[in-house]
Amino acid sequence: MELETTINGRRVSLTFANGEFLAETLRRYGYLSVKRGCNTGSCGLCTVWLDQRPVLSCATLTARVAEHQITTIEALQEEAEAFGRYMVAQGAEQCGFCSPGFVMTVLAMKRELSNPTPEEISHYLAGNLCRCSGYKGQMRAIQEFMEVE
């Protein structure tokens, strides 16, 4: 199958198999930041933006993204670095495999919520698993990042 859509601000046409999910397609087209930890919508690693809203790309059919805006962290390098500086200052990224999906969710949250409480932050990010960090360092990094800007 084929469709036209926009990825990271560029028009692209995608060829994909019937029933293929977006995470698979994106990786095949070289958007290697997109990681998968479960492929069943329960870890958050594959989070990208669809029209500026975070979605799980492993649970989004590629066929549904025609004429939409897809954003991966490859297009948000400056913002990711700005947040990333707080993350590395905490040591909160360890293996880093969960990071792209986590950062995409954090950056979306920043656009959506102003002055969120720690509870609101935790709820927004509840679907993003991390086995390494224990979550607390991520929270400290987020709070510093949200306050500074």
């Binding site: 870890c43 590395v88 293996c95 495999f97 969960c98």
Partner: protein
């Protein structure tokens, strides 16, 4: 210090946060790579009567289908351990006998995923289904055997497959039975710890190909690249010099990737077809067909005087190693090794029992490696003993702890008749500090918040090791490049914990240069010195010590080179500080000048420093952990509202990485205590093979965690450091169990008068789910 004891950012941190391609599946791009898939046993115990792969082989796009008839029948272990491995050689690549649901039946390789999946469905297997052994308690001397054939071991580990025993072991110091008989207070209880899954976010994966020289190239997400190469060489019967191993960034390991679960399958495909091959485990495969933390039943007997002086500690362990014995003997030993020495004041101690085979997902290495299970049992028993004595559990521990200068025959590095000596510990201070921070005096054992909400308090202490004493030995090479920066090569195999960063910090500290002046090389085994890998908490201590020695060697060589270039007389001094060499006559030379000269015709002497280190002892890091758990008496729901971990890891080399290690480990321990459990059904099928079924802690489950360091100085450690990676997950489960018991028990345990008159509830089986809490409290009410 310039770089150490500071919060230095991980050298790969920013790149990983920004999502740069760094992991195995990011780097193995090749349009012609074959997709490998495995057919797995649907039965917990079965024999293959016949297997028909004709239709699968005939399918277009299928390049190769392999069964037990097509692969080498060498016996081996997949455990990533130094040779001779203690683990039994009890597996084959593919076997006619299938020992658990998920055991490999056949290997398929095809041009794409869809063809490989279709081919799997076309394989016809006639199984003779056998009765599985599922309950470890009845595995011993069961009529059904998991391994009816004999099993090779490299040395005596007590393996007896004719009794379903994978390993057996006993150590005793003093006369435990006599001390117990003489003890006025005796406690005996049995504790159960469950199988836990690693759940690293990147599942197991490897990609293989033949390189330009026809060597087998294996890119793999592993903690043990050198051991992987040795295993492959043995199984495939090709010399190690024909195998090249590449280790990219690893998306988490936690001990899981200390077992070579996947590499052999694509490697076989590449050897058979000459083509590149890739195997990526799905999440269900990662759950069902790799390894778990060994489930254990531990019976603890304690004997004490009325004043709380321990007389005897006896721990008997039954460990469930599942279908194969990867790490079965060593995890088993560590249970005793990393618990008994804690209480060196006890006059006698013993650890004994065995690890049994069952027809389930194999046990293996998981952060804590037996110490976690042993700590749960021993520390829970200590807490119960404190209740029996009417004593503060903190005081009971302080009375019996090992202190620096004490020796103990079970401490790692001990030789017969020569018990190892503890050189550093601040555990007593860790306990006192933790009591202050959690408010032990005011709050222990419980604070009633309302009729239905109670906060309970609990504690535990623990130790681990730093590397494997007298065995694991690592090397570091340090090259001075032509414009004055260094390349530091090692194979410590960073899996996210930050060893690449910490090892660089140690070298930069010695060499007195900026961190950026040292580049880390840890990818291609062809260019790296030997290192057993990332396990046994060895990174900072073992490889860190090797880095320290390599940097000192480099510094000495540089000074000598400067002396030669200046044609100084023997014994003339060359000083070095902050990248500048200076002589007695006021001459100076920069590091960059020296490097350029040495790489040119004029100097003609490329410098390479080296350091090798293996520990005679395995200095234990210590933690005192304190839990505050809020219990809802109506629902049984337990929330760890506050956790305090006070840590002695020697000198803290990197403040932020050490803190995160503690926080991550504590959360893994909370998972073990309250949430996580690998469960099988009555037929041996895994019921928890997704994140929907397996209850991994999410950020909503985690509340306050406070980490404090009480640094000691370990004389054998690099700049005084000990390890941190594993010790961190041991205290939560027993501390939480005690806190919950304290919350639900109406008895105030420090009130001596009440003790013995009222029944007390304890939680001796992990995980402590709301159902268990409710059942226990209902049962207690009914008994009143």
């Amino acid at each position: 210090m310039r770089h150490l004891q500071q919060a230095v950012a991980k050298i790969d941190g920013l790149a990983l946060v920004k999502g740069v391609p760094a992991y195995t599946s990011d780097l193995d791009l090749n349009n012609n790579v074959l997709v490998v898939k495995l057919l797995r046993s649907p039965h917990a115990s079965a024999l293959i009567r016949s297997i028909d792969v004709a239709a699968a082989r005939a399918l277009p796009g299928v390049e190769c289908v392999l069964t037990h008839e097509d692969v080498p029948q060498t016996a081996f272990t997949l455990a990533g351990q130094s040779y001779p491995e203690p683990s039994p050689y009890d597996r084959r690549v593919l076997d006619r006998r299938l020992r658990y649901v998920g055991d490999e039946v056949a290997i398929v390789a095809a041009v794409d995923e869809a063809s490989a999946t279709r081919a799997l469905a076309l394989i016809r297997v006639d199984y003779q289904v056998l009765t599985p052994v599922l309950d470890p308690a009845s595995a011993l001397d069961n009529a059904e055997l998991v391994h009816p054939e004999s099993v090779h071991t490299n040395f005596e580990i007590g393996c007896d497959p004719s009794r379903n025993i994978a390993a057996a072991h006993a150590v005793e110091q003093g006369d435990v039975e006599a001390e117990l008989a003489a003890s006025p207070v005796v406690l005996e209880q049995t504790y159960h710890t469950q199988a836990q899954a690693h759940c690293m976010m990147e599942t197991y994966r490897a990609t293989t190909s033949l390189d330009v020289h026809g060597r087998l190239q294996v890119m793999t997400s592993t903690q043990v690249p050198y051991h992987v190469r040795r295993h492959l060489s043995r199984i495939l019967d090709i010399p190690r010099n024909r195998i090249k191993v590449l280790k990219p960034r690893v998306g988490g390991g936690f001990g899981g990737k200390q077992t070579a679960s996947v590499e052999i399958f694509p490697a076989l495909v590449t050897m058979k077809t000459g083509k590149p091959a890739r195997l990526v485990y799905s999440r269900p495969e990662a759950f069902s067909s790799t390894t778990t933390r060994h489930a254990m039943a531990l019976t603890v007997r304690l004997g004490a005087d009325r004043d709380g002086s321990l007389r005897a500690i006896d721990i008997h362990c039954l460990s469930d190693t599942g279908a194969y014995g990867e790490h079965a003997p060593t995890v088993f030993w560590v249970v005793g090794q990393k618990t008994l020495p804690l209480y060196a004041r006890a006059r006698a101690c013993r650890y004994h029992g065995h690890a049994v085979y069952t027809n389930k997902t194999p046990g293996g290495a998981l952060r804590g490696y037996g110490a976690t299970q042993g700590t749960f049992a021993l520390e829970s028993a200590l807490n119960e003993l404190a209740d029996q004595l009417g004593m503060d559990p903190a005081e009971l521990r302080l009375k019996n702890l090992i202190t620096p200068g004490d020796s103990h025959p079970v401490l790692s590095g001990s030789l017969p008749g020569e018990p190892a000596r503890l050189a550093s510990s601040t555990l007593d201070r860790c306990i006192t500090r933790g009591c202050e921070l959690i408010g032990w005096e005011e709050h222990y054992p419980r604070v009633q918040l309302s009729d239905t909400r109670v906060r309970g308090y609990g504690m535990a202490v623990t130790m681990q090791g730093s590397g494997i004493a007298r065995i694991d030995t690592a090397s570091v090479l340090l090259k001075l490049n032509e414009d004055g920066f260094f390349t530091l090569s090692h194979s410590a195999s960073d899996m996210g914990q930050g060893s690449d960063t910490v090892i660089n910090q140690v070298a930069a500290e010695v060499l007195e240069v900026e961190l950026e002046q040292i580049v880390s090389s840890s990818f291609d085994l062809d260019t790296l010195p030997y290192d057993p890998g990332a396990y046994a908490s060895s990174g900072a201590y073992v490889t860190g010590n090797a880095a320290l020695r390599a940097a000192e060697d480099m510094k000495a060589q540089m000074r000598a080179a400067v002396a030669r270039l200046w044609s100084l007389a023997d014994g003339a001094r060359v000083d070095y500080a902050d990248g500048i060499f200076s002589g007695e006559d006021g001459q100076t030379m920069s590091l960059a000048e020296l490097a350029q000269t040495l790489c040119s015709f004029e100097g003609m002497d490329q410098l390479v420093g080296k350091g090798t280190f293996g520990g005679e002892t395995s200095p234990p890091p210590f933690i005192a952990g304190f839990a505050e758990v809020e219990v809802d008496l109506e629902t049984g729901e337990c929330v760890v509202s506050d956790y305090v971990a006070v840590v002695d890891c020697g000198t803290v080399l990197n403040r932020n990485l050490a803190r995160i290690q503690v926080e991550g480990g504590v959360v893994m321990g909370i998972g073990l205590g309250l949430y996580e459990e690998v469960r099988h059904n009555s037929k041996g099928r895994l019921m928890t093979d997704s994140f929907m079924e397996y209850n991994l802690p999410s950020r909503l489950d985690i509340h306050d965690i406070r980490v404090v360091f009480e640094e000691s100085v370990e004389p054998t450690g690099p700049f005084g450091a000990k390890s941190i990676g594993e010790v961190v997950c041991n205290t939560p489960a027993p501390a939480i169990a005690q806190a919950i018991a304290n919350a639900v028990n109406a008895v105030n345990a420090v009130n001596v008068a009440d003790v013995g008159n009222l029944p007390r509830l304890y939680f001796r089986e992990l995980p402590i789910t709301p159902e268990k809490v409710l059942l226990a409290t209902l049962g207690a009410d009914a008994a009143d």
